[in-house]
């Protein structure tokens, strides 16, 4: 790939206006990182405003073989927004309009820079509902959610981002503007390109418009905290509830390691014998919810249930959620560096996975804290270390490899929500056999023969020695 020249910058300024093309060290620096805490300097940061501007920029990049990648909030956990080969960072935050909320057809049309929670507020004001709720929804953008196929706690009942994307406008790596899917639920014309682009991590094109499916907003929601004597009881509770024909909106769990982190914090009262807990939410018509919660308590009572607390109002629900929300901030005291993995295993195998994680933790003497979305088997595994300790990097890598191998052995997947990006490349082949990987590579090669679109992501590749990665520091 080529390096950017002054002539390229001039062309960019002509497309979007000089005020939206930034090359100062400060501007490059503030677009050099994401939530992985790694850092690579781009050559230029551009803030386009329209699909046509994006297409013109991509055409320029294609014509001169320049690396280019889209960026939303830059809040991803696997490095999707890192310019590992430098080049053009295309920030889509100016494209942040909600173009349409259609109550008759239950769809919304948005630009990629819309923050997820803002869309949710807007549709909820008219009694509609956009379910995917990644933890970062207050700042992550829908473009980023589509690129990574974001999930969240509500997915157990409502599914993930891909289940809500009906159609896309995409600028392909040659600068063409294409339209996938449409405004209807049913659509079998040609290949399902919409699903191809959802979760493609910005490697196949840049999404500039999204048509989303909406639901009617559930009338009411209730929250319950259930504490258990052991993880098996909690895991069995999850299966039992679902076998009992109840799909809760949310089924969050914390294991003993996570409970230990928050026990004793202000306002959190968890007895010593509580070694696992579930936060269970149900939604629907208000009158149905109390019987549903009572039925859940009845079902899980024999499974080592210590206590079930049902929130009477929003404040009490918030207090129950505080237990779960306090975990992440409390982790830092265990180590300054966090390896936050988002493995997923079949629901019923969660206890086996937790036991394996405990074994890995004690064998390598590393704190591993586990919590997450029990309802869909998505476990957030947090390995907390201090990388300044000699030999720590190798120990962490060993732990991660063990974790991913175990995950695959249990029929799971190395990433449920965060994607592969840069961080998980070493593990993609644990899960995908080589013919499958080869198909994916050929799709990439067909759409992006020059390899300019978010280069260096998903697929492990040899470092290009002529243009080495410009990582300045590992933060």
């Amino acid at each position: 790939m080529n390096q950017l020249t002054e002539a390229h910058l001039e062309a960019l300024r002509e497309i979007v206006g000089a005020e939206h093309v930034a090359t100062s060290r400060t501007d490059l620096l503030s677009h050099s990182f994401d939530a992985t805490q790694r850092q690579f300097m781009p050559n230029v940061v551009v803030h386009p405003h329209t699909t046509e501007e994006v297409a013109a920029i991509v055409q320029l990049a294609a014509c001169h073989c320049l690396p280019i990648l889209p960026r939303g909030a830059g809040s991803g956990f696997t490095g999707g927004a890192l310019p590992v080969r430098g080049g053009i960072v295309l920030v889509l935050t100016r494209m942040n309009r909600i173009l349409e909320i259609d109550s008759d057809n239950l769809i919304a049309v948005v630009e990629p820079g819309v923050v997820t929670a803002r869309l949710q507020e807007a549709v909820e004001r008219v009694g509609l509902f956009y379910p995917p709720d990644p933890a970062s929804k207050e700042f992550s953008t829908l473009g980023g959610n589509v690129a990574e196929c974001a999930g969240g706690p509500r997915c157990v009942k409502y599914g993930v981002t891909r289940d809500y994307v009906l159609g896309l406008t995409v600028v392909t790596p040659d600068g063409a503007i294409i339209h996938t899917g449409g405004r209807t639920i049913k659509n079998v014309v040609g290949y399902d390109l919409t699903r191809l682009f959802v979760g493609s991590e910005g490697t196949l094109g840049i999404v500039t418009k999204i048509i989303l499916r909406l639901l009617p907003k559930p009338a009411s929601k209730r929250t319950m905290l259930a504490t258990f004597a052991d993880i098996d009881g909690a895991a069995e509770a999850v299966s039992t509830i679902i076998r009992g024909k109840i799909i809760p909106t949310t089924l969050e769990f914390m294991d003993a390691s996570a409970i230990k982190c928050v026990r004793g914090l202000p306002g959190i009262d968890l007895p010593e014998n509580c070694q696992a807990l579930l936060i269970i939410e149900v939604d629907g018509e208000a009158a149905q919810l109390t019987p549903q919660l009572n039925r859940i308590v009845e079902l899980i009572q024999p499974l080592g249930l210590l206590q079930a607390s049902i929130a009477r109002d929003a404040d009490e629900a918030e207090a129950l959620w505080r237990v779960r929300r306090s975990v992440s901030p409390s982790l830092r005291k265990l180590g300054p560096n966090k390896f936050n993995e988002d493995i997923v295993v079949p629901r019923a195998r969660v206890p086996e996975m937790i036991r394996a994680l405990d074994d890995i933790s004690s064998r390598l003497d590393l704190p591993i804290i586990n919590f997450g979305h029990a309802g869909d088997g998505n476990i957030h595994v947090n390995v907390m270390v201090d990388l300044r300790e000699p030999g720590m990097e190798a120990r962490v890598q060993e732990a991660l490899a063990d974790i991913f191998r175990t995950t695959i052995a249990l029929g799971g997947s190395v990433s449920g929500e965060h994607g592969i990006g840069l961080a998980k490349q070493p593990y993609i082949a644990f899960e995908l056999d080589s013919p499958t990987l080869a198909v994916m590579r050929s799709i990439k090669a067909a759409l992006d023969p020059q390899g300019i679109m978010n280069p260096g992501k998903i697929f492990p590749e040899k470092v290009d020695t002529t243009h080495p990665a410009t990582e300045s520091v590992s933060l």
Binding site: S24, D34, A35, V91, F139, K338
Partner: protein, 451 residues
């Protein structure tokens, strides 16, 4: 040696930023312009590079630092509570030490040698010639906030003839056995909205407290802090601690120092707390916002016990950043709900910043206005006649927004509403029977501004 922390004193905190991006969701500047350099995360990365000696601040870096309102929303929302507001303050001090003060900061820098602080009004300075400035002391933050070039097209309250200190004695005697409180008024209340300060002091006095209004108090230092003028902040901090010290009032211990200006309260607690002097920390520890104080003392319940009026006025509430980001959001709402004269409605976007941000509105007028405009929809949809708040700066800005948008409402201080309600209900209520002489000048209508 300076009592201020240097950038290097924050190296541990800089390390604690995990680049998650949560700060974006709360930063008024980021929400208005959508560029990463505006949010805390961008500034932390920049500060870390500067501290590591890998780069010097370029013009764009200074531009990004100037985008910060020092509202503290990022620090509150950050999972690791990285104090970006304090770090930006430290960087601004370093910039002004190296490059000199900005144009805005220079007005005050030229005057810092003047030892006279507040108390007497200084007339006829050459730098600020408007009528407004002839009545405001040279070291007051108001001079930074309302530089003449920034006054065009702005709605300002008519300048009161008498400031707070000439409207209230230095001491309002309370009931025996009740605590003694001291009132820190701040420049905006003292000189622009003395009726807000008077309402606060009289309300506390009605509730039985002895209230001191020390004459030696000065500007809290927030505007000087904002413009990177560390020396002036230090000078003002010493002036204020001395004014409220036991040496100044030897006969009685001051239990709390009450503020009715959210920004002053934020400066006196958060930023004095960042400075490295024990005396300041003692002072800082006593400072309490009026709403939080009334809640703590059970006074809100007292007000709630008053019989409700039949013709109540519809009121909504605006969260000042320096209350919200200090965790004070429920108390003012509870107070308003408790008032028998008020029909409280929650406004959409109540927690959105008003965009004033001290010197920010002078240094970044366009962005300040863009942030302010985000309030219009919520104010308009609320249907309220009054929007109450706990910060005179916000109230002034809200009135400016309301005027520009042509909305049929006004912004007022919660304390004016509270005092009016209390006075209306006083005769009926045994709990409030105090026995001390009736206050003078109690004809303050809830939303009156003295002209």
């Amino acid at each position: 040696m300076s009592i201020h922390k240097q950038l290097s004193d924050y190296s541990r905190e800089l390390d604690e930023c995990v680049r998650c991006g949560a700060c974006q969701a709360q930063c008024p500047s980021y929400l208005a312009i959508g560029k990463e350099g505006a949010a805390a995360r961008g500034k932390i990365v920049l500060a870390a590079e500067v501290l590591a000696g890998r780069m010097e601040l370029d013009e764009e870096g200074k531009r990004d630092l100037a985008l910060c309102l020092l509202c503290g929303a990022c620090a509150r929302t950050c999972p690791n509570h990285v104090p970006t507001d304090a770090i930006v303050s430290a960087l601004r001090r370093e910039i002004s030490e190296k490059d000199g003060l900005s144009t805005i900061g220079k007005g005050v820098a030229a005057l810092t040698g003047n030892p006279r602080l507040l108390g007497t009004l200084v007339r006829g300075t050459k730098i600020f010639s408007s009528l407004l400035f002839r009545r405001i002391p040279e070291t007051s933050g108001l001079r930074l906030r309302f530089s003449p070039q920034n006054l065009q097209d702005r709605v300002l309250p008519p300048l009161p003839r008498r400031n707070l200190f000439s409207r209230l004695p230095e001491r309002l005697q309370g009931k025996a056995g009740k605590a003694t409180l001291a009132f820190f008024a701040g420049c905006t209340i003292t000189y622009l909205y003395p009726e807000m300060g008077e309402a606060t002091a009289r309300l506390l006095n009605r509730l039985g407290y002895t209230v001191l209004i020390p004459r030696g108090q000065g500007c809290c230092g927030m505007p000087a802090l904002s413009s990177g003028n560390g020396a002036l902040v230090e000078q003002l901090a010493h002036t204020n601690t001395a004014a409220f010290d036991t040496a100044a009032f030897p006969s009685e211990p001051i239990e709390h120092i009450i503020t009715a200006c959210a920004s002053c309260g934020g400066a006196l607690t958060r930023f004095y707390g960042e400075m490295q002097t024990e005396a300041l920390h003692d002072f800082s520890g006593k400072v309490m916002d009026i709403h939080a104080f009334l809640k703590k003392e059970g006074c809100i319940d007292t007000l709630a016990a008053l019989p409700k009026n039949s013709d109540r006025v519809k009121v909504c509430y605006h969260d000042p950043c320096h209350l919200k980001n200090h965790g004070i959001t429920r108390e003012p709402r509870e107070l308003l709900r408790a008032l028998p004269t008020v029909d409280y409605v929650e406004m959409d976007g109540a927690a959105l910043c008003c965009g004033l941000g001290g010197t920010f509105s002078a240094s970044q007028p366009g962005l300040s206005r863009a942030i302010a405009d985000r309030k219009i929809a919520g104010l308009s949809a609320s249907g309220a006649e009054l929007v109450a708040s706990g910060c005179p700066g916000c109230i002034m800005q809200l009135n400016d927004i309301i005027h520009r948008a042509g909305l049929p409402m006004r912004a007022v201080h919660t304390m004016n509403l509270a005092l009016a309600a209390l006075e209306e209900g006083l005769s009926d209520t045994a709990i409030l029977h105090s026995g001390h002489p009736p206050c003078q000048n109690t004809s303050v209508a809830p939303w009156a501004t003295e002209s």
